[in-house]
């Protein structure tokens, strides 16, 4: 009996299928640019063939059929029955896009969401049973007919064993997923209100062994967290050593520090991938948009080999794609216009990435019409905003939500998400967006982001109208403050049997917060008093490098999803300062 491990399988499937699609796209674009070679046809054939098998295994029938058709087309090309013409390349690219849609379709994500939350026991309980998965979307109409999550659950429960019923975390709507096990899958016609998601068993043949393994980022994060925990342990050992003063212990602690640093660096390096993964995605976008808009464009890519954190690559993809689309829709002129202006008919879009110290710089430049200052000024006036003086003003205006000089949104850029979204995404990465433009000649957007993304879990707290973030490792417990005790030189708060000094976060930052209702207890003695607790969140830390802003007690800033900037507290420094102040 094979153990059911479809969760890993689902994740592997997606990862691998998308890698093949990326390969297919790259080969097709090569063919289009440099002509057909037997190797490229073979490569395409192999990838489509593998995709067919993969999709078949997870029950994505339509995707399997599509891959099969592509494979047949390539077989005929291989046999010399017809050439790989431009039209056929288009058909294959369309197929690749359709496949991508299907694979990224929510069904796959429903499966992985449900499977990822199964407990060990639930998973083991699946045994040899036939597993099926369906979803139910509640609507007022259904509720009026008494078709609701409770009634659906009851009826499903009669047809099979419900292993797990759970709400799905999706954009706007609420859906429920039911994972069922039984001797046979329930008859879908008996449940017209449900959508069924294909589930495959994991008896799938394994890929031939290679020296590379795919590892999910969360697993690397887990390792990183453990390294962090080890460092904490080391720090405590060192404290003990300061008390007992033992040479052997001291040497071991020093050695352990070096080893831990090495380990942290090694884990950090594991997360690095070449930037080429994102840049190659640009090729497809450029090709599509330039066709749509009737512009001719040459794409120059540089810096594909630069190694960057996987997460950074993922988060940079959308902003860069957007900037490239912008360049093609707003920047580059059509062939006729370029000819009339005496420019080369084909425009150039260059995307150049390089490392600059601890930052990654990407420059997206087009040799198009430049940004029309006049037009921006008029639009600014229309909105009651001051006219731009410097290029920075210009960029600020362009990055305002809803600011567009285009009369209507078109397909490429300007689908309601504009530069504001790009700028916000870059800021969230702790980076900066800047602009250079010359009328009639060029526009360049420069993205500069720190190479090392520092991501931490924080507890968000509220004081007055301000929100602060306390790094999770500093939070030992949270208490409700019922009464405080005023003593000479400060305030004490009751924490179980102990009284601890209270530090009002409001006082530290000059924010009027009233009497704190909650206390964040760290293992550093004092309790941080706040008005409200807003919850845990994972945020990207932006360190404060500007000496005018940086101050002890602040570990950095972060931007919340709402765009709100929040200060991250450096608890050890705050506590140190406060104790020193009290002593003085």
């Amino acid at each position: 009996m094979t153990e059911f491990s479809a969760d890993e399988f689902a994740a592997d499937f997606r990862e691998e299928a998308l890698a093949h699609l990326q390969q297919i796209t790259r080969l097709l674009l090569d063919v289009e640019r440099d002509g057909v070679t037997p190797e490229s046809v073979d490569g395409l054939f192999r990838s489509f063939h593998t995709l067919k098998g993969l999709c078949g295994m997870v029950g994505l029938e339509r995707a399997a059929t599509l891959s099969h058709e592509a494979e047949s087309l390539l077989t005929r090309v291989r046999r010399g029955q017809h050439p790989l013409s431009g039209e056929r390349v288009d058909r294959l690219l369309d197929a690749a896009r359709a496949l991508q849609d299907i694979i990224e379709h929510r069904e796959a994500s429903v499966l992985s969401q449900v499977l990822s939350q199964l407990t060990e026991a639930e998973r083991a309980g699946l045994g040899d049973a036939v597993v099926s998965l369906c979803t139910f979307t509640p609507t007022p109409e259904r509720a009026a007919r008494n078709v609701n999550v409770a009634s659906v659950r009851e009826r499903l429960g009669q047809a099979a064993r419900i292993v797990r019923a759970m709400p799905l975390q999706e954009g706007g709507q609420v859906r429920f997923a039911f994972l069922l096990a039984g001797h046979a899958a329930p008859d879908p016609t008996l449940f017209p209100e449900l959508e069924w998601v294909p589930v495959a068993r994991s008896e799938a043949p394994r890929q031939p062994t290679s020296t590379a393994v795919r590892v999910d980022i969360p697993r690397l994060d887990e390792v990183m967290r453990m390294v962090g925990a080890l460092m904490h342990t080391r720090a405590r050992l060192e404290l003990i050593n300061q008390e007992v003063r033992d040479d052997r212990l001291e040497e071991l602690v020093a050695r352990m520090s070096r080893q831990l640093r090495g380990m942290r660096e090694a884990v950090t390096r594991l997360r690095l991938v070449p930037l080429g993964d994102v840049l190659s995605r640009l090729e497809l976008v450029v090709r599509d948009v330039s066709r749509e808009r009737g512009v001719q464009v040459r794409l120059l890519l540089e810096g594909e080999e630069v190694q960057v954190d996987k997460l950074l690559v993922e988060r940079l993809a959308d902003p860069l794609l957007h900037l490239a689309r912008n360049a093609l829709t707003h920047g580059l002129e059509t062939t006729d216009v370029r000819r009339a202006e005496g420019k080369p008919e084909s425009g150039t879009l260059s995307v150049v990435a390089r490392r600059e110290g601890e930052s990654l710089c990407v420059r997206v430049e087009d040799d198009g019409r430049g940004i029309d200052r006049q037009q921006v000024t008029e639009r600014a006036r229309g909105l009651g905003l001051p006219a731009p003086v410097t290029t920075t003003d210009l960029l600020d205006l362009l990055c305002r939500p809803g600011f567009s000089t285009r009369p209507q949104a078109d397909l490429g850029a300007g689908r309601g998400v504009g530069l504001d979204v790009v700028a916000q995404a870059i800021r969230a990465l702790g980076g900066r967006l800047s602009l250079e433009t010359e009328p009639g000649r060029m526009t360049a957007f420069m993205v500069k982001v720190p190479l090392s993304l520092v991501i931490v879990d924080v507890l968000l707290v509220e004081v007055g109208a301000e929100i602060y973030a306390v790094p999770r490792p500093e939070v030992d417990r949270v208490i409700e403050i019922e009464a405080v005790l005023l003593v000479e030189g400060g305030t004490l708060v009751q924490d179980g049997a102990r009284a601890r000094p209270l530090l009002r976060v409001g006082d530290l930052f000059g924010v009027d917060g009233g009497a704190p209702r909650y206390g964040v207890v760290s293992d550093r003695g004092p309790v941080l008093g706040v008005d409200r607790l807003l919850g845990m969140q994972e945020v990207v830390v932006q360190t404060l490098t500007d000496p005018l802003v940086a101050r002890p007690g602040l570990a950095g800033t972060t931007e919340l999803g709402s765009g709100r900037l929040v200060l991250i507290l450096d608890v050890p420094a705050l506590v140190r300062d406060a104790l020193r102040g009290a002593a003085a």
Binding site: P167, L459, V478
Partner: protein
Amino acid sequence: MRKMVMAALRPLQASFVEAGTGLEAIEKLALETFEAITLDLNMPDMHGLEVLSFVRNHQAYQKVPVLVVSTRGEDDTRTQVLAAGATAYLTKPFTPRQILDALRPLLVEAPVD
């Protein structure tokens, strides 16, 4: 328990919708708009914390105040609940007066940014 809570909250002169399980609660949330939620950690199908984290992770319900009630009075439960985004926490047993006092401020407070 639900009947008791609703009886205790009657002075608020609000209308109540009750749900017997976590899934039902989330369904109700999807179909109607609410000014506040009281949530018992002890439910037949889901843990109250799961419901709470679902609510907090969902854009549409992020700002709805949630009062969590539970028999578990241990400190770590309280920490977990508050860290998971509960607006307030009340330990059973409580008097009608206590739950009323706990919920009333949640209804007038402006939603969090």
